[in-house]
Symmetry: C2
Subunit: 201 residues, 2 copies
């Protein structure tokens, strides 16, 4: 049984925060684990107690993030009526915008560095990532069936929607004119247009 | 005056083709110039006669590609009536889809590796890249003014359109079910929806 507040668990958020800044600034290949240890206020050997390798660290960072987003998305969808595809699409957009705006550094890192993962880990990550596509496909297909949407092509529409949502982390600027609320409102409307929402709600 | 077919010029397409395959497979950081020389059937010193550094090679590859796309886009727009924003939007989409499908390896590399460029080169590249945004902004603003479009927000709409178009190089599979024609038709329709084309043409 792991003790609550054990060193291992309380150190992770500090390593994670330091790592996100370094990965965002330098990229994975140029990131230096000696510097990561310094920024997290650890010795290199203490860091290697937590992680066997730099890739080990990257994998935990990316998979933790992805799990949190998938959990948040699926809870939000579970709380949205199955019978209302427009509300479900709005929920999908709202959750993805929120994560890409409030954690734009981490989501940007995830969009660039997943290919640095080993083959097995890349597969594990991709399986978790496919849950976004699956959820979105289901929403689009359901709305098409109920007559709420007039979808052009489920594959192209869901690829487009995911691309425009994940791209937010690339251009979002916390000091820029658009905040979470405006971006969410804009994307909800754009997503409804892409899905061909038939009646305005 | 440079001789037509000089060694320097006739060797470039071979280096470029070899480099694209290596960059696509391994990524810039892991790409090895010794292997690039081998694949292009050159000695390492012959390669270094053409390029001072790996970054020099990457910059020529990316800026050549971007110049070709911008030239193609701007010629196509020049041949599309100024007074027809819907046709201009269609042209924009058609050209971008064509490049991302027919040159999906290079456009994928461009989407990932630009940050490996030195600061000055990154700026030069970004200025050229901004021409896409400028052209798209102009089309959207013009269609809004003429009443052909009902744009939600020019910034969000153009960022979304560019993101969904550039993402094609990430998912496009030459062996997959969707060809250039289907993808173009689908994206033209999706772009019209995003722009809020008021009358169907």
């Amino acid at each position: 049984m792991r003790k609550v507040g054990s060193t291992r668990e309380s150190t992770w958020p500090r390593i994670r925060a330091a790592g996100v800044d370094l990965l965002y600034e330098f990229g994975y290949d140029a990131m230096n684990t000696r510097r990561l240890a310094e920024s997290a206020d650890l010795t290199s050997s203490a860091l290697y107690y937590h992680f066997k390798s730099k890739e080990d660290f990257l994998f935990r960072l990316l998979s933790d993030l992805l799990e949190e987003i998938v959990d948040d998305l699926e809870s939000a969808l579970a709380a949205t009526p199955e019978s209302d595809p427009v509300a479900r699409l709005d929920t999908f957009v709202r959750i993805l915008v929120k994560w890409h705006v409030t954690r734009h550094k981490e989501t940007f890192i995830a969009s660039i560095e997943t290919r640095a993962l080993s083959r097995d880990r890349h597969l594990a990550y991709s399986e978790l990532r496919d849950r976004f596509d699956l959820n979105l496909h289901k929403i689009l297909a359901q709305g098409e069936e109920s007559g709420d949407f007039a979808v052009i092509d489920v594959t192209l529409t869901s690829a487009s929607l995911l691309a425009m949502l994940t791209a937010i982390s690339g251009w979002y600027d916390p000091a820029g004119p658009l905040g979470l609320e405006e971006i969410t409102a804009g994307y909800v409307e754009l997503a409804r247009r892409l899905a061909g929402v038939v009646t305005s709600t």
